[in-house]
């Protein structure tokens, strides 16, 4: 009884509840036959949202106005550049990964330099940055699709004990992020900054350093996600990140992170990512047209939030 109450006070529980409902409704369509296939697909595609979502969550935790809009462009550039560099050679896989991490590092610094030097609100700074990154991606190879190295492509598309490798990678990254957030000083710091930057400064938190690290972290996760997604789908496309702009924000907020900053949680991101994938699958399965599909997606999102609501929004 009491443990149930504790469980229900967790904001992320609702996104999981919604996920389960949607899953059941979808599987019912085929009388249960599709359960395994659907779960695997959901895990695979949710994994990508989770990876970018975690980065976005760290940034959103920093407080009002903090959102990284350069995530899609970063994914695109990282995928394009890494695949071009690896040029289908298996021996270059690690180099490719390192380069994309390095790229994320540079983009994160770039983002924060803009925010800090020009005192631009992060939304605008990262938006400007994303245009520049997108241009760089176009300039590097004009959208030509280069195939990923064989081994990498196989790794990203196969699974271990029925769990997609991509999902395992995302799980490991979530684990690290969870420790970072819940157990370390850094996690406390970003949460403190999110609630009151001034107060954080006055308790001795190096605010700029912490925010810089956070933007770097977000860009690196987006980079890794771009690298994996390009390998998974057989090549980088110039528009491959665009889906993930709204997605990365949606999974964070539906997952129960306070948009006002200062409060975040990682299980919720998984729930929300699975949910976002399954909702579209469900509506596709039941054969709704695009218009109704969009409307229902919106209504379902709002319904989940309404049920999960009562989270004290702290202003």
């Amino acid at each position: 009884m009491n443990s149930a109450r504790i469980l229900f006070s967790k904001p992320w529980i609702w996104s999981f509840a919604a996920t389960v409902i949607v899953w059941v409704v979808t599987v019912l369509f085929t009388g249960g036959a599709s359960s395994l296939g659907l779960s695997q697909a959901a895990l695979t595609f949710a994994a990508f949202s989770v990876i970018v979502g975690i980065g976005q969550m760290f940034v959103i935790t920093l407080g009002p106005g903090n959102i990284d809009l350069s995530v899609p462009a970063t994914m695109t550039l990282s995928g394009t550049l890494a695949l071009k560099l690896m040029d289908v050679q298996d021996s270059m896989i690690v180099v490719g990964l390192l380069v994309s991490i390095l790229l994320g590092f540079a983009i994160g610094i770039g983002n924060y330099v803009l925010i800090k030097l020009l005192r631009i609100p992060p939304i605008i700074a990262t938006l400007s940055m994303s245009f520049i990154i997108q241009s760089t991606a176009i300039w590097t190879n004009r959208g030509l699709r280069i195939k990923p190295p064989e081994v990498l492509a196989n790794f990203t598309t196969s699974s271990l004990f029925g769990i997609p490798n991509i999902a395992i990678v995302a799980l490991i990254l979530s684990g690290i992020a969870w420790v970072l957030l819940e157990k370390t000083i850094y996690g406390r710091w970003i949460s403190a900054i999110g609630q009151s930057t001034f107060a954080a400064r006055m308790t001795g938190i190096p605010v700029d350093g912490t925010r810089l690290v956070t933007y770097i972290l977000c860009a690196i996760l987006a980079s890794i996600c771009g690298y994996l997604l390009a390998s998974f789908s057989g090549g980088a496309a110039l528009n491959m990140g665009s889906e993930y702009l709204l997605m990365s924000i949606a999974v964070v907020v539906i997952g129960g992170t306070a948009v006002a900053g200062g409060n975040s949680n990682i299980p919720g991101i998984w729930g929300a990512s699975l949910f976002m994938f399954l909702v579209v699958s469900m509506l596709n399965t039941y054969g709704f047209g695009a218009g109704f599909r969009l409307i229902l997606t919106g209504i379902i999102i709002i319904a989940v939030i309404l049920v999960a609501g009562g989270r004290r929004a702290n202003r």
Binding site: K183, T184, R188, A192, S196, A199, P206, A258, G262
Partner: protein, 500 residues
């Protein structure tokens, strides 16, 4: 302000006051927040033309009963009547009955101009020239309460100092376009005002009461309660434990009624610790005045009228010693905020997290926070300064204002910092706790900690080893040891200052 004389006809005034009509009566009020009984059958009746003083320890339930009277909080038991009529409750009902309230935490809209704030508080300010009307209203009232205030009513509240905001809020609450308010509730109105302004306010309260209005005055500065109120109500743990004419109380009996024992001040100033290199120093501010210097183990007071650059200097001292990009290797300096909501509390967090945030470095190994050590730190401080809460995992906002302030204190003292900066940290802290904190400060100073303490209360300034007096942003005088008297401080803050 201790030492203000009371008029002799107080007692006779008392008697005819109780015969006057009730403005507000709250009887048998019970309010609980989860396990906390904030009010446990409290009674409070206010008559027309009297000033009621309300005192009690932090978390006694003063602000809660204010919120009940004000209509913002519905009691779980008991009833409220306005002007003798039972049955109506709520913010609008209270306002319709002429109840106005100045809350403990400032509640103006910081983004609005002063007269726009008046519009928010006074719905009747409407029509084409409401701006002019509002401006006239606020200006008149400010002039009446705080003659010579110097506040520009065309400025945004953001641009005002904390004292000026408090003055504006008080003025807006006393103002009335058509009719004046019947009852004005003042929840610690002087916590950010310096002695002069506080005296002006107290004088105005007497005039207001004399003209038939009523005031409910909450304060931890017993002097002003004793000098200004007709009747004093003492609360303890959600109940009223004493309700008698003010003339029957003295500081001592009042403190005893609140449940504390008065300790004789036996503050022995330590010997002069100057000499050797300074632990902290700063050249003269804005190119004139005296330079600042602090030595190990010193307790330094920053005095002067409110808003004359003391807080700015504390912020500068702090920020100059604290990296914004890289964590300071060993925390050598800590800060206790006075403006809790601005630079003090983290509202989403538990009390424990709020307390431990500044000492995480010592509580963790390899950046991983050791939660066991954190909890024991929290428990230790909970006992040491009596944070009134059943559980340190509760949200910080569930604490009363004074208790929140204690947590901020504990946050700074729990660090290993050798220097502690305090920005008027005793705002809203009750007498008993103050004594305990003074005690702690003294022993910490003896252990070699340096305290730099801005205070608006003369009693606290007198506790310091050395005092810098501020005027117009720079230090105009330095007082050492026995030179620290109210007279000297006042003289330095008003005159040109011999050292300027």
């Amino acid at each position: 302000m201790p030492g203000v004389c009371r008029t002799t006809n107080d007692v006779s005034r008392m008697n005819d006051v109780t015969a006057r009509p009730e403005v507000v009566a709250a009887r048998g009020i019970k309010v609980t927040f989860g396990a906390v009984k904030a009010l446990d059958g409290a009674d409070l009746v206010i008559h027309a033309g009297e000033c009621v003083g309300l005192v009690g320890h932090n978390g006694a339930g003063k602000s809660t009963i204010v919120n009940v009277i004000n209509g913002g909080l519905t009691p779980h038991a008991g009833d409220i009547s306005y002007g003798g009529n039972v049955g109506q409750h709520g913010i609008s009902a209270a306002r319709a009955n002429g109840v106005r309230c100045v809350f403990q935490e400032l509640s103006l809209c910081p983004n609005l101009i002063v007269n726009e704030n008046a519009r928010i508080m006074h719905a009747e300010l409407a029509g084409w020239n409401w701006r002019a009307k509002a401006l006239a209203l606020v200006e008149r009232q400010l002039r009446e309460i705080f003659p010579g205030h110097g506040i520009d009513c065309d400025s945004t509240v953001d641009d005002l100092s904390i004292a000026e905001r408090q003055m504006v809020e008080i003025a807006i609450s006393f103002a009335g376009l058509h009719d004046r308010p019947k009852l004005v509730i003042l929840d610690e109105p002087t916590s950010s005002l310096d002695a002069g302004l506080a005296a002006q306010l107290m004088a105005y309260i007497r005039r207001f009461v004399g003209e038939g209005g009523s005031v409910l005055l909450i304060s931890h500065i017993l002097g002003e309660i004793l000098s200004t109120s007709d009747r004093i109500v003492v609360m303890k743990d959600g109940r009223v434990v004493a309700d008698r004419p003010a003339s029957e109380f003295s500081t001592r009996t009042l403190v005893e009624a609140m449940g504390n024992v008065v300790r004789e001040k036996e503050w022995l100033r330590s010997s002069d610790k100057r000499g050797g290199t300074a632990a902290l120093s700063m050249p003269a501010r804005r190119g004139h005045g005296l330079p600042f210097e602090a030595h190990r183990g010193e307790m330094i007071g920053l005095a002067g009228l409110g808003g004359h650059g003391q807080t700015e200097m504390l912020l500068d001292l702090y920020l100059s010693r604290n990296g914004n990009w890289w964590p300071a290797r060993k925390g050598e300096i800590a800060f206790v905020a006075g403006d809790r909501s601005l630079n003090g509390t983290f509202p989403l967090w538990s009390i424990l997290n709020n307390l431990s945030i500044a000492s995480l470095g010592n509580l963790s190994s390899r950046s991983i926070v050791d939660q066991g050590r954190e909890t024991s730190l929290g428990d230790g401080w909970k006992k040491r300064i009596e944070i009134r809460t059943p559980d340190m995992e509760n949200r910080i906002l569930s604490l009363s204002g004074g208790n929140q302030q204690k947590v901020l204190f504990a946050r700074a003292l729990a660090t290993t910092a050798g220097i502690v900066l305090m920005d008027d940290p005793m705002r809203g802290v009750d007498v008993g706790t103050k004594q305990e904190v003074y005690e702690i400060l003294r022993s910490e100073a003896a252990n070699g900690r340096t305290f730099i303490w801005y205070s608006t209360e003369m009693d606290e300034i007198r506790l310091c080893d050395r005092v810098y007096v501020f005027r117009e942003g720079s230090i105009v005088a330095e007082l050492v040891g026995n030179e620290i008297t109210e007279q000297n401080v006042l003289a330095a803050s008003f005159s040109g200052g011999e050292a300027a």
